[in-house]
Symmetry: C2
Subunit: 332 residues, 2 copies
């Protein structure tokens, strides 16, 4: 809570499979109030919106005198900015096509826009974070999966159908590891997501039975990227190798992305970046090694400036300031 | 030569390592007059421009009454649209940075713009060809090398430094074939260029000594993509395998590009497309196979509509109609 005077405010809502975070944000990226609730507690999208309204109404009523709420920005898995919908999101209990912007705008009597989480993160970084003033950058989210938001010439890239920016599914190891969800082989997400890192750790433990490792204290199901990081920081050789390998593949993929759109910077975001230099160093090294000389030592590879705890709400709220600028539909 | 009445005209000049083609083009893409001269005959860029002027002046003087030449568009290897220069082009006898737009504009007293050949081809297709009205597409040129011009939201993608769109150098076979020029391993150009196709043919002949092939009538140095095509069309098994393999790799690469920018179409252009369905079919098949379902059966994969003989001049001339629209510098 800050005491600045505020003009326009935005509501930011991040819809996750388990929790939904929501808050009120000013144009400088200060979160004036925020909270969260269980997404899965609501049987229908209408009940979900009723729940949100009940929680947000008091926050809206207590927003600073003279301020005005401009609209609602929603970040959601499979959020479709062109249609104002969530479509066939595998991790939500509401199936099919959900016209969330319509429902939201009717209930709140405010304009609302939606986007997928990775594109919202990119817009958040451009609005409040280290990408301010940048016209060309790529946001890579390294969480359970690998998402991306691409900005070219100051605009998020949507492509002809709104689906651009699925860099996590580009093939980086033809014929390689099979993806647990898509069934495709060798995509970036197979290796550089938290899920992929756990698989790599298990593979390395299997393939090197003679090498001692702190990771062997855990059951195979338990091992996750957090445990790999802890072990690596204690000097564990195999755990370090897991990040070397992950960074090699991620670095090669980033080099390909750079030769496509020549961005000023690539931002990394999400749970995996808690590994810090363990992931950043090998990624940077392999990125540079796989670039044509004209691209080398020019592209910044940096962690997002937005705090992970706040980023979801900030990214979603930033969509509101984009209204009228991009091609999203606006309900309300 | 057509007899329509013409308003604005553009001069298009395509500077190649061996020949320079030039002509006068109207806004509908009719080439009113054209010719070519040896690039390498001119010791300096100034003498080259003097030569061009001597050849183009009579064409300009005989352009239709009432028409006006709006400017000069130049397509050239390593053409830098931001600086109006050709920079360190390995295949030209003029070394270093050539301020070609300045020299040209002074001599002709006309505005001039430059771009690299693949971006000029993309703009040509968008102006006169099958990409008219498309806002999102990718042009892939398959010649001695592999070039690309990417259009997103109606604009050519330059990136933060003007170098975007080097898709020929993206890695598609990590640790694969070494590139003859860059020394990098497994780039698309190593396989899908005419050069790469000749290498693949030689490799397949070496690796399958027991298989009869019409290609064995030629010396190893002689074999090129044209010969591979001729043999494949006669039903030669190995020659057909060469295109199957080329199409597999090209298709996988195109799938990655689609998941980046979700274009409406991908255009193929250049000498290699003379192979027709031999290259198109396996490319299309492998492209679809490597796409997420949301992208499948949506993206047109088609050959450029511009005749190869005319395309270089058309692409260069189209740059003139872009003046004031993109970020190119304009000399003169």
């Amino acid at each position: 809570m800050t005491n600045n005077t505020h003009g326009s405010l935005a509501i930011g809502i991040d819809v996750g499979g388990t929790n939904t975070k929501y808050g009120i944000v000013d144009q400088q990226g200060n979160i004036l109030s925020q909270s969260e609730m269980k997404t899965e507690a609501f049987e229908t999208p209408e009940l979900f919106v009723d729940g949100l309204y009940a929680m947000l109404k008091p926050m809206m009523d207590s927003s600073p005198a003279g301020s005005q709420i401009k609209g609602i920005g929603i970040g959601a898995p499979n959020g479709n900015p062109f249609r104002g919908t969530i479509e066939y999101a595998p991790n939500l209990r509401w199936k099919g096509v959900i016209r969330l912007c319509d429902i939201m705008s009717k209930k709140f009597n405010l304009a609302s826009v939606i986007n997928n989480d990775a594109k919202a993160a990119a817009i958040g970084e451009m609005t409040y974070g280290a990408a301010r003033g940048m016209k060309d950058f790529i946001m890579i989210t390294l969480g359970t999966g690998v998402g991306s938001g691409i900005v070219i010439n100051g605009n998020v890239v949507y492509g002809h159908d709104g689906f651009a920016g699925e860099l996590g599914h580009s093939t980086i190891r033809p014929g390689g590891r099979k993806h647990w969800g898509t069934g495709m082989h060798g995509s970036l997400e197979c290796y550089a997501s938290a899920t992929g890192i756990a698989i790599t750790a298990n593979e390395m433990l299997d393939e090197n039975p003679e090498i001692e490792s702190l990771m062997r204290q855990y059951s195979r199901e338990e091992i996750n990227s957090k445990i790999v990081t802890e072990c690596a920081l204690k000097g564990d050789e195999l755990a370090n190798n897991v990040y070397q390998y992950t960074g090699q593949i991620l670095g090669e993929a980033l080099a390909n992305f750079i030769m496509f759109s020549s961005p000023e910077a690539i931002f990394l975001f999400g749970g995996v970046i808690k590994a810090g230099d363990l992931i950043l160093k090998p990624t940077k090294e392999n990125m540079e090694k796989n670039l044509l000389p004209i691209f080398q030592n020019k592209v910044k590879l940096i962690f997002s400036e937005l705090k992970e705890a706040d980023a979801a709400i900030l990214g979603a709220s930033a969509l509101v300031w984009e209204i009228g600028k991009n091609t999203s539909i606006v309900a309300g």
